[in-house]
């Protein structure tokens, strides 16, 4: 059924963001000397300082021998009201910084790595407010801890996304709406959603809330680096519309052509809506209206419908086709200022599934305009979360899983006490994802029919390579197979083994006549996942592929930074890895040289 396929599609975000160029410091107001532009920042889990190398693209705050002070706070050159912000940041061990929205509301940056129960002072928190009159020890209030700790190890890049609504004031300057965190996600984990900020947080430039003020980065607490700073603000006029005429036809109109049919109903509505009729199937709806384009610019049209539909602007078809309402069908067009006629057509000639018709217009820097009436699209279903929690022992759960946009069918997820988890492709004996935090969201598997049958990580994910880690190679430059067939690799099952009081699955394979065991346990302090691969029998030409990525940097002592400091890999034992090029990527490889085991740690 169409429904089943389309429900999997994730709506695409269409807003365009502006980059803060990090070729120099011109985007900032009077930056102090502690801020510089560099080409690269590197760190290690235990290093108390970042190493930088010259170049462009990375904004760094380093001590450079001075003491930090308030003047080291970095204020952006533009003021903002509502804003969507995304950036990457990196801190060394023990460091502290923060992003101040409107220089007043702080999202905390802190080395909170490995902290099990984060507070409102930890990474990702909406920092608390401060009032000394509340009494000693009670000054901090109304802070918001993240839903879970989503920070990565020191020396790795963290990705932060913020959606913020500024406070609103009436003409007399009275606040009529609080500032609101629409959403914050850290490293892909949603940690806050729709939290109203009742006032400024501690360390704000002023206790007075305002409609518009610049972003600020805390610079007086320690080293921090930023890159990929992007934002979108909403200072441009949105599209407006006038009432629409409609014609409603009964019958099957898969081609959207009314032809010589007589409409069963006509009229004018403030906004187009499927609700103009009660008929659930076998109809054609035509809406005609005018959009007022405020300024010549590129406008993005998002349409939704269950069945067949089309959007025409100035008589030209922008979007068209058979779709399910939850899917966004998107088209952009440059339009001149002034009125433009539009036509919205919708036909549904099958009974199942809800009716739905949506038309929205977006413009970079403007609020989205809903052209269709709110109830023209179905309300989202109130689906409860089905979470698999790890308590005192390891949990494992098979499911389908998405990996790099594709569905894998032979996946087992393993959640270990201490908050480290991984998903494993049983068909290939390969790691798909490693993650830290909550274990598994099974809603798409165990709610209702569970048609997607997907289990999804609930924490900070680092993507692994989905390749069997061993290969018998003629030489050190030969390629590993992207995928092995059952003639080379046979999955035999897994055995549960106890280490201390904790159970771990040991996966068993036959690989070209070698018996292979593959298992993973958490490092003693939960800094990472230790994978151990053991081979029964030896082979002089046996190699292990430890990691693959766009970039691999050696950090000394057999520790490597993978994929631009997304995670670390450390070779355990006495083996030495080498970095090689393969099909445009870097690979970290160990020659086993008749050794019967290889062990490495993924740290993040």
């Amino acid at each position: 059924m169409l429904k089943k396929l389309l429900c999997l599609l994730v709506p695409v975000s269409v807003y365009a963001q502006t980059d803060i160029p990090l070729n120099d410091l011109r985007s900032f107001q009077n930056p102090s000397a502690t801020w510089t532009i560099e080409g690269q920042a590197l760190g290690t889990p235990d290093g108390e300082a970042l190493t930088v190398s010259p170049g462009k693209g990375v904004l760094v705050n380093t001590l450079k021998g001075q003491k930090y002070q308030r003047t080291d706070d970095l204020v952006f050159g533009f003021a903002h009201e509502d804003i969507r912000l995304s950036l990457d940041y990196m801190i060394p061990k023990g460091s502290n910084s923060g992003i101040y929205l409107q220089s007043r509301y702080e999202i905390q940056i802190l080395d909170s790595w490995l902290k099990v129960s984060p507070t409102d002072g930890d990474a990702g928190a909406i920092y608390h407010r401060w009032d000394e009159s509340r009494g000693i020890g009670k000054e901090g209030y109304e802070g918001h801890a993240p839903r879970q700790n989503a920070v990565k190890a020191p020396g790795l890049w963290n990705h932060l996304e913020v959606d913020f609504k500024a406070p609103r004031f009436d003409a007399k300057g009275n606040k009529i709406a609080n500032a609101r965190i629409v959403k914050i996600s850290l490293n892909g984990v949603l940690i806050h959603e729709n939290i109203e900020l009742l006032g400024v947080t501690r360390g704000a430039v002023s206790t007075q809330e305002v409609a518009k003020a610049p972003l600020m980065i805390q610079g007086d607490h320690g080293q921090v680096a930023f890159k990929n700073i992007k934002y979108e603000i909403f200072d441009k006029a949105p599209v407006t519309y006038s009432p629409a005429k409609y014609a409603f036809y009964k019958g099957k109109f898969g081609n959207l052509q009314a032809g010589s049919s007589t409409p069963a109903q006509t009229g004018t509505v403030a906004q187009p809506s499927v609700k103009v009729s009660e008929v659930k199937a076998d109809f054609l709806l035509q809406f005609e209206g005018k959009l007022t384009i405020p300024e010549t610019d590129t406008y993005t049209f998002i349409t939704n419908w269950t069945g067949t539909g089309a959007l025409l602007i100035d008589g030209d078809t922008l979007t068209k086709g058979n779709h399910w309402y939850s899917e966004d069908i998107i088209a952009s067009r440059k339009l001149t200022a002034g009125e433009h006629p539009y036509k919205l057509l919708y036909a549904k000639d099958f009974g199942w599934g809800p009716r739905g018709l949506g038309l929205f217009v977006e413009r970079s820097g403007a609020e989205r305009t809903a052209i269709t009436e709110r109830t023209s699209l179905p309300e989202p279903e109130a689906t409860p979360l089905v979470e698999i929690k790890v308590t005192d022992d390891t949990k494992w759960q098979r499911s389908f899983a998405m990996y790099k946009g594709r569905k894998k069918t032979h996946v087992i997820h393993v959640g270990m006490p201490g908050g480290l988890n991984y998903s494993y492709n049983l068909n290939q004996g390969s790691f798909l994802h490693a993650w830290r935090g909550k274990f598994l969201d099974a809603t798409l598997m165990w709610h209702d029919r569970g048609e997607p049958q997907l289990g999804a990580p609930m924490g900070v994910v680092v993507v692994q390579n989905n390749m069997f880690p061993l290969a018998i190679l003629p030489d050190a430059n030969a390629a590993f197979s992207d995928s092995l067939g059952t003639q080379d690799l046979q999955y035999k099952g897994y055995v549960l083994q106890k280490t201390g009081s904790t159970t771990f699955p040991v996966f068993q394979y036959n690989y070209k006549g070698l018996k292979v065991k593959d298992t993973a346990i958490p490092q003693a302090n939960n800094q990472g996942i230790v994978r151990k691969i053991t081979v029964e029998g030896t082979n002089a030409n046996l190699y292990a592929l430890v990691a693959e990525g766009e970039a691999i940097v050696s950090l000394g002592n057999e520790r490597y930074g993978i994929d631009n400091q997304q995670y670390y890999v450390e070779i355990l034992g006495n083996q030495k890895a080498f970095i090689r090029d393969n099909k445009g990527k870097k690979q970290l490889v160990v020659a086993l040289n008749n050794a019967s085991a290889i062990s490495y740690q993924i740290t993040f």
Partner: protein, 632 residues
């Protein structure tokens, strides 16, 4: 305290004696629970026991696997001391496990993509080895369910593989979808038969033969049970994509199928591999989603039906009965209603060690008459024999109906006691089928056996491939009790050779049954459409039951379909309801998972009577303010 208790007990005894005395004058009709009792196996509050598989162990424990991938070991499931059963988690993390079997000391379960052997090597009551016996490809489509294993006598395992659902059943997305396969202990997979759509239940009988239950859908006009042998094609086209494989036992392709809507029996004349069902289970009249089946080899522990099969229906939360016989080398037989009223969707059934049936249930996402999301119950025979049609057998010129008790001569030889007809379904790529080619059977004569346990019905319009409905509404036993279930559906693929019946009773010309209904119909039409007429609630109740409306609808509560009071709120005219009964519009009821089948075989007059009654409910539904005030 104790004394008082005895008094109450005594009073109870007196009462029951009194009612027994009364029974001789006008018996209160028996119900199913007077013979077959449903016992609930209590499930701990924190376990979601959405049962997919059941494996009774010889030591009296029972293992069950669930859609949430757990295997629970249940101790004391028969609750012999009246105490709770105990549940221990034996295995977990499996992918929607829909089948479990115990064999030579180990448990075998089917996950979506794997046949897994679960072994407890360190005797701590938990599996520590999850051995992959066999694995197969999947496309990722949710409808690619995998069922089994069921062991045969050689220790090989049968599994069945659902086709994907992409608006129709599609087998080509992953290998052997739509097939019955056999897997040897070493993991080798042998394809056996295809044409399977949604084969949630199947069994290997005492004769080492495989029977499987099919769900209505594309190419499947109605639920049914089919005997599968190597090279068979059971009807759904989805799996035919894989007949091109070198180890496929048949070479049939999709293009070879006639997609004409003619009866399957006619299609099978053109397609040699097309296997006719042994027994059709008419959609909604019997069940709506055939699930598990088991053969009664309890030697009488389960009652008088040794050698027959108990077949379950997920959607209607019930057990049905099936008898088979072999005619011209092919199985055929009949199905009978048996026991309604399970708590959830009855998907899995296995014999308990005591000759009761362990019934595992789940309804998440699929809906069922039993309202619970999941459940675990037993069906237990209490030793009393119900008055039933024990078995219908085909004869060269009709049927022989055997009863569990002697039939009173007066009722058996009353022509009005019988209602007989035949019908079939379309064979086509569309989803389901209306009942087609319905025809009254002409009862030429009958013979009651000397011991009055058998009636031979002589008919002159038997049709091969058709379902023959045999209804004995007026039959009574010596107690004056009617049949507990008055209907059987016999699938007549073959008519046995042999001598024609001689010396049968013939009806007097004036009392021929068929003429009766037509005038009633007309009268009913006029009556029901006139809104001022009183509605005969009792008559409507009988019609609702007769036409199986009550399998899916109740007056006030949501069952499989909407309650009648909700239908009443739509303010349809009686004629509009008639039109919707004949041509249902599932889109009008988007919150219901199961679509209503077209019911064109129900006479117009009957539908209009029902419609008038439904609409009368609307009028009664004015809110009673006093009631609302006192609520809570």
């Amino acid at each position: 305290m104790k004394k008082q208790f005895y008094h109450i007990l005594l009073a109870g005894l007196l009462l029951s004696t009194a009612s027994k005395g009364l029974a001789q004058n006008k018996p209160k009709p028996y119900t199913e629970e007077d013979f077959y009792e449903i016992k609930t196996i209590a499930i701990p509050d924190d376990i979601r026991l959405e049962i997919g598989g059941i494996a009774p162990l010889p030591d009296g424990r029972v293992a069950v696997c669930t859609r949430r991938g757990e295997v629970w070991m249940v101790e004391n499931p028969y609750q012999l001391n009246g105490t709770k059963p105990s549940y221990t988690l034996f295995a977990s993390g499996l992918h929607e496990s829909l089948g479990l079997a115990y064999h030579n000391g180990a448990l075998y379960c089917t996950q979506r993509a794997e046949l897994t052997k679960l072994i407890d090597t360190d005797a701590d009551g938990k599996a520590d080895v999850y051995e992959c016996v066999a694995t197969w490809d999947l496309s990722g489509n949710y409808h690619e369910y995998s069922y089994g294993p069921v062991f045969d006598k050689n220790g090989d395992m049968y599994l069945t593989f659902n086709v994907a659902w992409v608006g129709y059943g599609e087998g080509k997305l992953a290998k052997w979808r739509g097939w019955l396969v056999k897997i040897k202990p070493d993991g080798t997979l042998e394809p056996i038969a295809t044409g399977l759509r949604s084969p949630a239940g199947f069994t290997v009988n005492s004769n080492n033969e495989v029977f499987y239950g099919e769900n209505q859908g594309d190419w499947v006009g109605s639920g049914r049970v089919t005997h599968l042998e190597k090279g068979d094609f059971a009807g759904n086209a989805g799996g035919l994509y894989w007949t091109k494989e070198p180890n496929s036992p048949l070479k049939l392709t999709r293009e070879d199928l006639p997609d004409t809507g003619e009866p399957m029996y006619e299609a099978a004349k053109k397609v040699k591999a097309l296997k006719l069902p042994a027994v059709w289970f008419p959609h909604a009249l019997m069940g709506i989603s055939t699930a598990d089946m088991i053969e009664d080899q309890t030697g009488g522990k389960f009652g008088p039906f040794q050698g027959q099969y108990i077949v379950f229906d997920q959607g209607q939360s019930k057990a049905m009965r099936m008898s088979l016989e072999k005619i011209n080398g092919q199985y055929q037989g009949a199905c009978y209603p048996f026991r309604d009223g399970f708590q959830s969707g009855t998907v899995r059934a296995r014999w308990g060690n005591d000759g009761s049936i362990l019934v595992g249930m789940t309804s998440r996402g699929w809906g069922s008459t039993g309202k619970d999301l999941y459940g675990f119950q037993r069906l237990v025979w209490n030793g009393r024999v119900p008055f039933e049609m024990k078995q219908v057998k085909a004869t060269p010129d009709g049927f022989e109906v055997e009863f569990t008790q002697p039939v009173s001569k007066a009722s058996a030889e009353n022509w009005a006691a019988y209602e007989l007809k035949s019908f079939t379904y379309k064979y086509h790529h569309q989803y389901g089928s209306p009942i087609i080619n319905q025809e009254k059977l002409n009862l030429k004569g009958l013979i009651l056996s000397d011991d009055r346990t058998k009636v031979r019905l002589v008919l002159d319009n038997l049709r091969k491939g058709y379902i023959h409905e045999i209804r004995g509404t007026g039959l009574l036993n010596d107690e004056g009790q009617p049949l507990l279930h008055d209907v059987a559906y016999y699938t007549l693929n073959n008519i046995p050779a042999g001598e024609l019946t001689k010396g049968y009773l013939v009806p007097k010309a004036t009392t021929t049954a068929p003429a009766k209904t037509t005038p009633v119909k007309k009268e009913a039409t006029n009556k029901a459409t006139s809104s001022n007429d009183l509605i005969d609630t009792k008559q409507v109740a009988a019609l609702l039951k007769k036409h199986a409306c009550t399998s899916c609808h109740a007056e006030n509560t949501r069952v499989v379909g909407p309650p009648f009071v909700e239908v009443a709120k739509r303010n349809y005219t009686n004629e509009q309801i008639l039109e919707l009964v004949y041509h249902p519009k599932p889109e009008n009821w988007p919150d219901y998972a199961t679509e209503m089948a077209s019911m064109t075989h129900v006479p117009k007059g009957d539908v209009l009577k029902i419609a008038a009654w439904i609409n009368s409910l609307g009028k009664k539904q004015k809110p009673d303010l006093n009631k609302i005030e006192n609520h809570d």
